[in-house]
Each structure stands twice: as structure tokens, then as C-alpha cells.
Amino acid sequence: MKISRPSRRSAVARIAAAGIALATGIGAAMAQDTIKIGYIDPLSGPGATVGEVGLKTFQFLVEELNAKGGAAGKKFEVIGYDNKTNPQESLIQAQKAVDAGARIITQGNGSGVAAALVDWVNKYNERNPGKEVLYLNYAAVDPILTNDKCSFWHFRWDANSDIKMEALTNYMKPKTNIKKVYLINQDYSFGQSLRAIARTMLKAKRPDIEIVGDELHPLLKVTDFSPYIAKIKASGADTVITGNWSQDFALLLKAAADAGLNVEWYTYYAGGTGGPTAIKQTGLNHKVYAIVEGFPNGELAAARETEKAFRAKYNSTNFYPRAFNEMRMLAAAINKANSTDGAKVAAALEDMKFEVFDGGEGQMRKDDHQFFQPMYLGSFGDIDKAKEPFDEEGTGWGWRQLAKIELKDTMLPTTCKMVRP
């Protein structure tokens, strides 16, 4: 079993090693015969909350896979690289990972980082034939990555934001109590693409729904959401769709609760760090919905067991069932190709069908390297501890699974014109 995160090694030994390596220029010559995965996400600063959980998830998975013998006779090893949520820094860390012998990098936080990494991997592979690097994306949801900017070297396990909206609107379609929808989103690429696709899809599926507001507010700059709430209130909306996360989500919800705004909240990231705490504070019991690929309180026994083990080990929710799909499929692909060569593994991943973490079959579409799987809609509130054992962030409240959106209802066409080597 090999798991390492540089920070866990001795500081001086590392400094000394770095110094010696610097002096002798043999930084990369220490490659061992493991399948190294460079995990490139924020491990310091504000973004570290999610980045650290992600790293733990991958470490958990590496242990699981290595216990089963690894893949193609080799053990896995994940090395964490701190990208400080900064695209440029991510490229530096990717270079470091590759120099340390990683041929697979994985990342999830921030579409800006993801776009930079896709571009970098494309150029790196073009300029370094024979040393191809694969980029496995577990959480960056900008649709463009599997559409206009799709790459043979990039695979995505998280549903992109269009797919999520497709699933969400398919769920909303028969709900006749939804009449007036208000959109409020952060003013950056994710929020903008979400609002655009929400308009299109709602119009197509529920032309009777009136979109009474479509707001963009600056990213992580708003302290007081009361004026926005006043506008939502004035519009007479009964439903709000938002992609807000972090404090933009928490403050929005708190201001709404303070003002006594009574609407249903359809969200992407209510389950993100701090989200459950904020919902509990506002007392919005089962008023906040989220669309994900699986909830801790899902029905599958195996998934619940893993959730339990994960929580026991790391004292944290397993946010990334998709990382399980990613790593398990990677092992399967390496076994299938019987090689760790980037191009061969990529070819093995294409069109691979796989039994996903939360049950049901998923598929890595060959056309755009987007993974499709059943999606789930749930609400957050009080739970029946007997049937729903997992609460979130120690609030006593948890996610209740309300509906499953079948694979076919999540499928969307792609504009990707895949260039294969």
C-alpha cells in the first residue's frame, strides 16, 4: 500500500531532499514502479475544505484498489499537489506531478483550472509524444470541456451543468405547482451557462412557467443579499433555481429566511461545505433541493457501507461518489489495456459501461468522454434516523432521496468533434 502526501513527510527531510535534488538535478529520477496519480486541487487557503476531502477520497480509493491488487500488477499511488485554486499554479503543479512520474492527473475544483489543464495536457501530449498524460476530471462541470473544448486526453465523471439541468428540468416537468421561477446565479462562466440552459430547457419543457427574474450577482463579493431577496419577493416567484455555492449560497438562504421568503430552492451545490449548516440555521426544512449522482442516504446497501466506512475513517461526508466511479473504472481500463500507456488506457475507457457507486449502469460516452449515469434529486431536512442514517455536518438533518432520474433522461447531445491521435 502506497499513499503519500508530501506534507506528511518530514519537513526537513523534504527540504534537504529538494536541496540535494536541486543541486544535482535529479528531481525526477526517483520514479518507483507504481501507477502515480497527481491530485491537483487546493490543499491550502479557502478552497482547501473541498480539496482535502477530495484527496482523502482518492487515498481511500487507492487503499481499496490496492487491497484488491491494484491494476495490471501495479499498485496505485496518489500524490497531492496544492494548486491554490489558481490555473497558472495548477499548470506548475501538473508539471511537477509529471516530473515525479505521474501519467495520470486528476482535478475537480474550478472550471477555469480545468480549462487550463485540458489545454496544457493537449499541448504537453502533442509536444512529448510517447509520454502522454491523461486528465481525469471528477468535478469541474463547465459543459464546454466535453463540447467545444473536448479532448481525447480528458475524461469527466461528474455530470456537466447542462446534464444536471436536463435532469432537474425533467424532474420539474410534471410539477404543476411550479409556476413562477426566479434564477439567481453567480456572475461567472458557470453561473452564466447555468442560467442560459435553464431558460432554454424550461421554455422547451414547461412553456407555461414564467421566468420572473434572472439575476447575476458578483462572485463571492456580496455580504448582504437582502436587496436580492426583496426583488425575488416582489416578483412573486414560487421557485428559485440557483447554482450558488459557498458563502454565496449560505448568505442567500439566510437573507431569504430572515425576510420570510417562502419558495422552493432548486440547487446544484446545497450539499457543498457549509451548505447543510446554513440550511439548518435557516430552518428551511425540506425546502432546498439538490441534484447529484447519489446521496449518502441512497438505497444501495453497498454504497451505505462505504459511506459508513468513509465517515468513520475521515469524519467527513463522502462528497464524491463519482471519484469512486472514476478510480474503479481507471483500474478496470488499465487491466483491460494491460498497460499504463496513456493512449491505450484512454482507448479502453472510451464507451466503457460500469456499475456505478449508487447503483445502476453508467457509461463513458465515446463521442465526448462525458460519463452518464442515473441522477438523483433530494431535499435537505429532518430525517428518519432508522431509514436514513446519515446526517450532514452534525446538524441532525440530512438528505432525503426523492426521485431518480434515469440515465436516458440525462442524455444530451454534444458538439464535440473528437480528435484522436
Binding site: T49, T223, D224, P227, A230, Q247, A278, E393
Partner: protein, 316 residues
């Protein structure tokens, strides 16, 4: 329309007073010591976290009393063992010292309380809607925030202008030697002022913590806007800071309630820029979208045309 105007005004005033609450300590330290304290928002954050910690053990109210005292003491230590030593190198060195301090404090808070938001609750005593204005509720806690802000303004103003302490402190800034000769302990005065400033920041933290999000990023997110308040109001002017806070609160709130863009304004002209040009971006952006950056525009314009700020009397 009347509804939106009334509610926006009320929201603007509430937000403005919250800003003042946060900025009062900053302006106090600047007016007394001439130090632009970059770590002010960090003391605010520290106050929120210490208040949260105490609230877990003993409830919100002890936190409101104790957290400012603890943070104030921490502020005094910072002045005694840090700031005082760089004082001889001038105000830029002092400013840089607080700049570095902000880095360190954020990391320390992350080590102790983690990076995720903590569950800091509004006290049960104030957790009810105080009144309803056209179907919009106003929680009692917001009125409490408003009352505290005003109390701090009145208290500070009275202390600075009506008491001997205020006079001595003001004199110590301009004529430290003279004041020392009169038998006052000037270093102690500066240390106390810094402590009070940090304590005020902590009060703001304890009060805003439950209403907003108590997280290690709260300092970095708040920092710049406080400078806008203090600079627009006039560096070191307490009344200026109050006026500027209200101005910024109202400006932002009303801007958010407007969806107008250049495209709407000039719709009659029939002009429409080419898509995918900078002109088009500018044409379509709404007032609401740029609302949160308006304070910075105000800052730049103010400094260019009236560098002393609204009510300040010195430039730097």
C-alpha cells in the same frame, strides 16, 4: 414601487450600519495612531470565532462581552510586541506589518477552527421577526445590530470629543513628546487605542458572525470594502465613516434593485452593438450586476477629486 423603495431604503440603512460597525475600529485606530490597519478585518474574524467558541460553552451573551475583551487584549499584545517596534520606521512599515499580520491570523484561525464555516447561531432571545413591512419580515436581530452600531457611534463620538481621554489621545498623536512631558504614558495610550480598535472589530465579528457566515475567508472578503468606507468617509473621521457607510449601503441596495442597462436606456435609438464585442458586453451589463463594485468606483472618484474624503481633514 413604493414598496421596493421603502424596503430598499431600510435594507440600505441596515447594511450601511453593519458596515459602520465593522469599520468603526479601523477609523478609530487610524485617527488616533495614523496606522491604516490591514489586519482590522482579521480582528473582526477573530472576534467572530472567539464569540462562537464562547457561545458554544456559555451562550451568545457572554460571548458578546468576553470576545471583544479577549480580542482587544490580543490587539494590545500585537501593538506592544509588534507594531511598536516598527513604529520608528514610519507608517509604511506599520502598514506592511499589519499586512503580514492579516496573513498570519487567517492561517491561525484556519488551524484552530478549520476552513469550513462554523455553526454560529443567532441567540434564541432575538430569533424572531420583529416587524413586517409589506410581507417582508425584519428579524429582531437586525434591529439589535442597528442599535449596537448607533450606540458605538454615539459612545465613540462622545468619548473622543467630550472627554479628557479623547483630548489626550488626540494630542498624543500630534505631539507625543509634549503629552509625555505632561505625565501621560504615551505608549500605553497607543496600546490601549489599538486594543479598543481591535475590540470594536471583535464586537462587529460577534454580532455579524451569526447573521453572516463565520468562516476563515470572512476577513479577506470584507477587508477591501472597509477601506472604501474609511477612505470615502475621510481618513480618521468617525462621522465621515458613518455617512460613508450609509451612502455605500444605500448605493448598493438601490443599484441592485435596478435592472437597467445601457441597452434599456438607449433602447429607443435602436442601436445594438455586434455580439461578441467589448461594446456589447458593456451595453448589456445591468446596474444590478455592477452594484457591488460601485463602492470602488466611488473610492477612486473620491480620492481623485476630494482626497480628504467626505468629512476628513487630512490627506494621508
Amino acid at each position: 414601487m413604493l414598496e421596493l423603495v421603502l424596503i430598499s431604503t431600510l435594507n440600505g440603512v441596515l447594511y450601511g450600519l453593519l458596515l459602520f460597525l465593522m469599520a468603526s475600529g479601523l477609523t478609530l485606530i487610524f485617527s488616533m495612531m495614523g496606522v491604516l490597519n490591514f489586519a482590522h478585518a482579521s480582528f473582526y474574524m477573530l472576534g467572530a470565532f472567539v464569540g462562537y467558541q464562547i457561545s458554544k460553552w456559555a451562550g451568545f451573551w457572554p460571548g458578546l462581552i468576553l470576545a471583544p475583551l479577549i480580542v482587544g487584549a490580543a490587539g494590545m499584545l500585537v501593538e506592544r510586541f509588534g507594531l511598536r517596534n516598527v513604529h520608528k520606521n514610519g507608517h509604511v512599515a506599520e502598514l506592511l506589518f499589519t499586512f503580514g499580520l492579516a496573513f498570519v491570523m487567517e492561517e491561525l484561525v484556519q488551524i484552530v477552527w478549520g476552513k469550513a464555516p462554523v455553526d454560529y447561531r443567532v441567540p434564541a432571545l432575538l430569533d424572531f421577526p420583529a416587524f413586517t413591512l409589506f410581507t417582508t419580515n425584519y428579524p429582531a436581530y437586525k434591529l439589535f445590530m442597528l442599535a449596537i452600531s448607533l450606540a458605538i457611534f454615539v459612545g465613540l463620538f462622545a468619548m473622543l470629543t467630550r472627554t479628557r481621554i479623547g483630548l489626550i489621545v488626540q494630542a498624543a498623536l500630534t505631539h507625543p513628546n509634549m503629552v509625555a512631558h505632561l505625565g501621560h504614558n504615551v505608549p500605553l495610550i497607543f496600546m490601549s487605542v489599538f486594543g479598543v480598535g481591535a475590540g470594536l472589530a471583535a464586537i462587529a465579528g460577534v454580532i455579524a458572525g451569526p447573521a453572516l457566515v463565520t468562516q476563515s475567508t470572512m476577513a479577506a472578503l470584507l477587508g477591501p470594502i472597509l477601506f472604501v468606507v474609511v477612505v470615502v468617509g475621510g481618513l480618521g473621521s468617525l462621522s465621515g465613516a458613518l455617512v460613508a457607510s450609509l451612502l455605500i449601503g444605500l448605493l448598493q441596495t438601490f443599484a441592485i434593485s435596478s435592472n437597467a442597462s445601457m441597452a434599456d436606456l438607449f433602447a429607443f435609438s435602436g442601436f445594438s452593438p455586434q455580439p461578441n464585442t467589448i461594446m456589447n458586453d458593456l451595453w448589456r451589463v445591468s446596474v444590478a450586476q455592477i452594484a457591488p463594485i460601485l463602492p470602488y468606483l466611488l473610492l477612486v472618484l473620491m480620492l481623485m477629486f476630494r482626497p480628504t474624503g467626505l468629512m476628513g481633514n487630512r490627506e494621508s
